[in-house]
Amino acid sequence: MTTLEKVRQRAEADAKTYGYYLHPDPEFLNDLLEGLKKNEERYGYPSCPCRVASGKFEFDRDIICPCDYRDPDVAEFGFCYCGLFVRKDVVEKKLPIHSIPERRPVEKQARAYAMAPEVIEKPARATVGVAEETAQVKKKFWYCKQCGYTVFREDPPYICPICKAKRELFAEITIGAFVRG
């Protein structure tokens, strides 16, 4: 059985590794941690407290905290969808932390909830809503020029989880075959 303290420690360790802060309002933070604990008890894994999990691991994988959308959300807005992870400048300048649009692609939600296919074809009009982009994310290899840490993902991390170098110190690795003629 997990405890609130364990959930908190895990979140703190993860924030530290990736150079983020946790939500500065202790009450709001506590609600999020309680939500994560509850989900871990319900589903066996800490899925995002602000999303409805299907309860099927293979479909909820992308919304297990820290979710796949955290880093792009923090990069764009300064905090993630539920508000657990916050960028340094947002905390230091006390910038407002608010609800942000759901980045999880409609296709992923549809798969998780086994929605009718016609629902997928016409995404919500208007809205603040859902990222238009499809689930096809272009991942690349990135390496930290300071320590050599290598990672395969869409964008380089905010900081290097190993040596804490800034994002700018990451470079893309391009692999090409060199044939001598």
């Binding site: 609600d31 999020l32 509850k38 407290p49 539920c82 608010h98 629902v119 603040v128 809503g129």
Partner: protein
């Protein structure tokens, strides 16, 4: 479907909220409505059966909303996504 009614002095509008029981933004929205003495009903979607969840998702999409919570529906017409006190104030005239 378990609809919970929260009484309040301001009954001018019919307010329905789709929420998640573990969601901090939903909790904040509920508190905002209570602080403003707005009478409202809510459904915690994560506690519903899959059949009911499907009905809720259909309802949100039919109204042009995105599957993000809290979703508030005012007078069966206006749909508000996320914790958005300004939009709620405007819709409720408070």
């Amino acid at each position: 479907m378990d609809k919970v009614k929260v009484p309040g002095k301001n009954k001018k509008h019919k307010v329905l909220m789709y929420a998640i029981s573990t969601c901090a933004w939903c909790k904040k929205t509920k508190k905002f409505l209570v602080d403003n003495e707005v009478e409202y009903e809510y459904i915690d979607v994560d506690l519903c059966s899959e059949e009911d969840r499907q009905k809720i998702r259909d309802d949100i999409r039919r109204r042009g909303g995105s599957l993000s919570y809290p979703t508030i529906i005012v007078d069966d017409k206006k749909i508000i996504t996320g914790y958005s006190p300004d939009e709620i104030k405007e819709a409720l005239g408070i």
